[in-house]
């Protein structure tokens, strides 16, 4: 039997795959001095893939392929669009960084696009095997990307740590998935959900173990405490644009997989995953924040901050099983949080990259007096940081707001407790975000060179895009809120 293939539905993946091949061939054929052109091909590929996403959204019908293993619905389209836009911003962040570094060019874009292909597939995956393949397609290229600066020991360490932990977590997850298959006799999430309802006692216990292992694997991917140890070292050692990509796109990929699995496959087994995710959320927020307080390097601080932000994203998961309305608000909250988190975190990294072009350092102290020598960048970095802290009128407040909204929609005491933990944590977080603002604005510059910073146009465009999103969504959150509402199963 020939499987039915809907080429329109697969168009984004096809465009990306074509771009991947073209980049690789171009890198082979172009002379050295023309290799930077490969970034243009990558950009075209990403923007080209956005076109079918838009036409599919305009079309509006849900498309399902391969027996329901691959679905293109609003949920998938929102995330496909999101991943492509995030990648576009990442390309803007990296093009000068990569061109100025003394490294190969074409491979970088090849690896980046391959990882994005995994993400775009992940948004549609509705089957354990598809999810696993998509997750590995996301991860494997990033192992290499993290080690991009070959001659730098830290970059090597970043790569090897990330690789070992990544492979370990994949193994754990795969073991969990195999148990799920053993218990339910299917890899299709809808079938699993159906079978899970009619399991006998011992089989049900096995399913609980299976779910635990599967989620444990994802917890590594989204660097939730206590599975977070790789993140700070990897983030610090990897090239900064790659770190930005890891902390936003790759992390979001993990969350998307978790959403799909929890909401479609495991929803009715709520009492098995809910306590686990509750604990992960509480630990990630608290430990991420408390450790971030003590950092002196801004990349490490942003790493711990992203662990804490991941905790905030997990909070709605922890209450999603309480009732149907709670599940709907929780899904909305996770989607909106991821969208807003991407804008503010990418923005923060973009400014850090821009400033490090002069300071050649990621020490928080090296940001002292930035407000005096580069006021515009200083204002924008403050925007991103205070947005991460959740201060209105910057977009972060709305992310925090929908998170709290999901918590209170659940009406349980466990939900109320995690709500208070989240509230206290959002105050702790302010302290370290404001600490950077303090360096920028309240201290005298330590550098002698106080000429205004010259930022390459691509990087400027990335910063401007993120800043516009952070300010506009902060004042008028309706567009992102609408996307959150659309993205349901």
């Amino acid at each position: 039997m020939n499987p039915h293939i809907d080429y329109h539905a697969l168009a984004p993946e096809i465009v990306l795959s074509a771009a991947i091949v073209v980049v690789l061939v171009a890198d082979l054929l172009f002379p050295d001095r023309d290799r930077w052109q490969t970034s243009r091909i990558a950009t075209l590929g990403v923007l080209g893939a956005l076109i079918p996403v838009l036409t599919l959204a305009a079309d509006g019908t849900d498309r399902s392929m391969f027996g329901g293993a691959y679905v293109v619905d609003n949920y998938a389209l929102v995330f496909k669009g999101f991943f492509l836009v995030v990648t576009y911003v990442t390309i803007l962040l990296s093009s000068d960084y990569i061109a100025e570094g003394d490294y190969y060019q074409g491979e970088f874009w090849f690896l980046l696009l391959t990882s994005v292909l995994g993400m775009v597939a992940m948004a549609s995956a509705r089957d354990l095997i598809t999810i696993f393949v998509a997750l590995e397609t996301i991860s494997v290229p990033t192992f290499v990307l993290a080690g991009w600066r070959k001659h730098d020991v830290r970059s090597n360490e970043a790569s090897i740590k990330y690789y070992l932990i990544g492979v370990l977590s994949s193994a754990v997850m795969l073991y969990g998935m195999s148990l799920v298959y053993g218990v339910t006799n299917s890899t299709l999430l809808t079938d699993i959900a159906q079978k899970a309802g009619s399991l006998s006692g011992s089989m049900n216990n096995l399913l609980i173990v299976a779910i635990f292992l599967t989620l444990g694997g994802f917890a590594f991917k989204v660097s939730a405490v206590p599975f977070h140890f790789w993140a700070p070292d990897t983030y610090e050692g990897a090239p900064t644009p790659v770190t930005a990509f890891l902390s936003v796109a790759s992390k979001a990929g993990g969350f998307v997989a978790m959403l799909t699995i929890v909401y479609i496959g495991f929803y009715n087994s709520g009492n098995s995953w809910q306590p686990v995710l509750w604990a992960l959320a509480a630990a990630s927020m608290t430990i991420g924040n408390l450790t971030a307080l003590r950092q002196t390097n801004i990349i490490r601080m942003l790493a711990y901050s992203s662990i804490a932000q991941g905790g905030f994203i997990l909070v709605p998961f922890a209450v999603a099983g309480d009732s149907r309305p709670a599940a709907a608000s929780a899904l909305e909250a996770v989607v909106i949080y991821i969208l807003i988190y991407a804008a503010m975190n990418l923005g923060a990294f973009a400014v850090v990259i821009a400033v490090a072009r002069r300071t050649r350092s990621a020490e928080i102290r090296s940001f002292a007096g930035l407000g005096q020598w580069s006021p515009v960048l200083a204002v924008l970095l403050s925007f991103f940081l205070f947005s991460l802290a959740g201060i209105p009128p910057l977009a972060g407040w709305f992310a925090k707001f929908v998170m709290f909204r999901a918590v209170l929609d659940a009406h349980t005491s466990a939900a109320a407790v995690i709500g208070v933990i989240a509230a206290v944590n959002s105050v702790i977080a302010l302290f370290y975000y404001a600490g950077i603002a303090r360096q920028i604005w309240f201290r005298e510059p330590t550098l002698d060179d106080r000429r205004p910073l010259e930022v390459p146009p691509a990087l400027n465009a990335a910063i401007a895009l993120c800043a516009a999103a952070v300010v506009v969504v902060g004042v008028y959150p309706q567009p992102f809120a609408k996307l959150g509402e659309l993205a349901h199963f």
Partner: protein, 506 residues
């Protein structure tokens, strides 16, 4: 007045400062006069709009006026709902008025590190938050405006503040943020447990119907923390002396005159009308903290050596009187509280202006290094004397009408307050009365140390400039208002009484 009826006037009163802020930011860095002129024109125009609103306001009509109710974030059911009533109007005018005078005062008083562009931009951003809070009629909109003020004030203290500015600014920020995080949780709980709306008038009309009494008390607790930290009430006040002392003059004035009122306004606008049952349970405790604040603030004043710190502690005491009036839950007490808010805004705002000017001239605020201001700068000295009198509640000046009726109202608190309300509140009244005596004590003591006596040897041969022109322009309207409200308190009471009776009369 069609333009005002459709809500454009009120929208302009909130967002005009934003237009000015963008213009100030866009102005060339070198042209400071242009930046100042833009800020001045914007704040004057905003004040003009609020006056026009006051003119077209119908004082006999109860309910909201001149507002608008537009869609904002449909997905969470929150709307851009703003409107004016008798409680909002005086606060809105006060906010626009004080901001305008602050810009005038700043004209040639920019503290180090100068940078008028950033300073004025922050003042204008602050004004959006303050004006917006006083007119917002949707809980989420209120929350957003309430929080907008944090960033500008944080930077104002942190960049232009005194030696201990880093500590003071982050302390201010963390305290307020902690309160507002829990306040937001309360708003959401109210939404989901209650009638699924964030609309303040609708919620107030329901009086907490459908919410179990014990849950009401919990929700009230979250709001209480949010507002009480902002006021600030007794155990949460520790951020205030630091923030006030370290802030630049204009920052202190705005903090004292407007930002503190966001807290008391929150009680009157949100906490009390929406959860009246819980308010009755909480009232004795609020009253207790208010009275402790009155006495503790006064004793704190007597222990200060720094003029600004002394005025900051006097704020704790004065806001105690306002909260005592609020805690009685009577129309009489709440009218007094609103009057007290306006009066404290004018008087303490003036005192901080004077403290700033004294510091500018003597480069110190240490009370034991000051003295004989009346010989060196008699006009400044007399203005200080006048404001001290107003602050201690001398009849005939504005301070009296905030304090005295608040005390009186405690004699007869609202029915239904839990416990033996008469005994409790009459005790509060007696203790608070002692507070007024202490207030006279510390204010006269300050006046004596600063204005009377002989000039200290270190200043004998130094020329001390008397009041400057920008100071005259900024201060005269405030001084006149302090007298006008003292002689004719109905200027405020007539505006507030209708709304207060509608919300708390039944």
């Amino acid at each position: 007045m069609n333009w005002f009826d459709s809500g454009w006037g009120l929208t302009a009163a909130v967002f005009l400062p934003g237009v000015g802020m963008l213009a100030v930011v866009a102005a060339p860095k070198a042209d400071e006069t242009l930046q100042k002129a833009i800020a001045l024109v914007t704040t004057i125009a905003t004040f003009g709009v609020t006056i026009a609103l006051a003119v077209s306001f119908n004082y006999d009509k109860s309910g909201l006026q001149l507002g608008t109710d537009k869609s904002w974030i449909d997905v969470i059911n929150s709307r851009f709902h703003i409107g004016l009533d008798g409680i909002s109007l005086p606060m809105l005018i006060l906010s626009a008025f004080i901001t305008m005078l602050c810009v005038i005062y700043s004209w040639d008083h920019f503290p180090e590190p100068h940078n008028p562009k950033a300073f004025l931009g922050l003042i204008l951003l602050l004004e959006i938050g303050m004006n917006g809070t006083f007119v917002a009629q949707d809980l989420i909109l209120f929350f957003v405006f309430f929080e907008i003020v944090l960033l500008p004030m944080f930077f104002m203290i942190g960049v232009w503040g005194g030696p201990n500015r880093e500590y003071a600014s982050i302390k201010f920020f963390l305290f307020t943020l902690f309160g507002s995080a829990l306040m937001l949780l309360s708003f959401l709980a109210l939404y989901f447990i209650g009638p699924n709306t964030f609309d303040i008038p609708k919620l107030a009309a329901l009086h907490g119907a459908g919410i179990v009494h014990s849950t009401q008390n919990l929700i009230f607790a979250g709001m209480f923390l949010g507002f009480a930290i902002k006021v600030p009430m007794f155990p949460f006040h520790t951020w205030l002396p630091d923030a006030h002392t370290e802030a630049p003059t204009v920052g202190s004035v705005l903090l004292a005159a407007i930002l503190l009122k966001l807290g008391t306004y929150g009680f009157i606008r949100i906490a009390l009308p929406i959860l009246p049952q819980a308010a009755r349970d909480w009232a004795p405790w609020i009253g207790l903290l208010a009275v402790i604040g009155i006495i503790y603030g006064a004793l704190g004043c007597l222990a200060q050596r720094d003029m600004k710190r002394l005025i900051a502690f006097s704020s704790v005491a004065h806001m105690g009187f306002v909260m005592l009036g609020v805690a009685t839950l009577t129309t009489f007490g709440i009218n007094a509280a609103i009057f007290g808010m306006v009066a404290h805004g004018l008087i303490t705002g003036m005192l901080f202006f004077i403290a700033g000017s004294v510091q500018e001239r003597f480069e110190t605020r240490q009370l034991d290094r000051l003295g004989g201001l009346l010989t060196q700068a008699p006009k400044l000295g007399w203005i200080l004397g006048f404001c001290a009198m107003a602050s201690l509640g001398l009849p005939g000046l504005a301070g009296f009408w905030g304090e005295f009726p608040a005390l009186l109202s405690a004699y007869n608190p609202a029915k239904g307050i839990s416990g033996n309300e008469f005994v409790v509140f009459r005790t509060y009244m007696a203790v608070a009365a002692v507070g007024t005596v202490l207030a006279a004590g510390y204010l006269l003591w300050m006046l004596q140390r600063v204005a009377f006596g002989t000039v200290k040897p270190e200043w004998e041969n130094v020329h001390i400039h008397d009041v400057h022109v920008p100071e005259w322009i900024a201060w005269t309207p405030m001084l006149l208002l302090i007298v006008a409200l003292g002689i004719y308190p109905n200027l405020i009471f007539r505006v507030t009484d209708g709304t207060v009776t509608r919300l708390f009369g039944g």
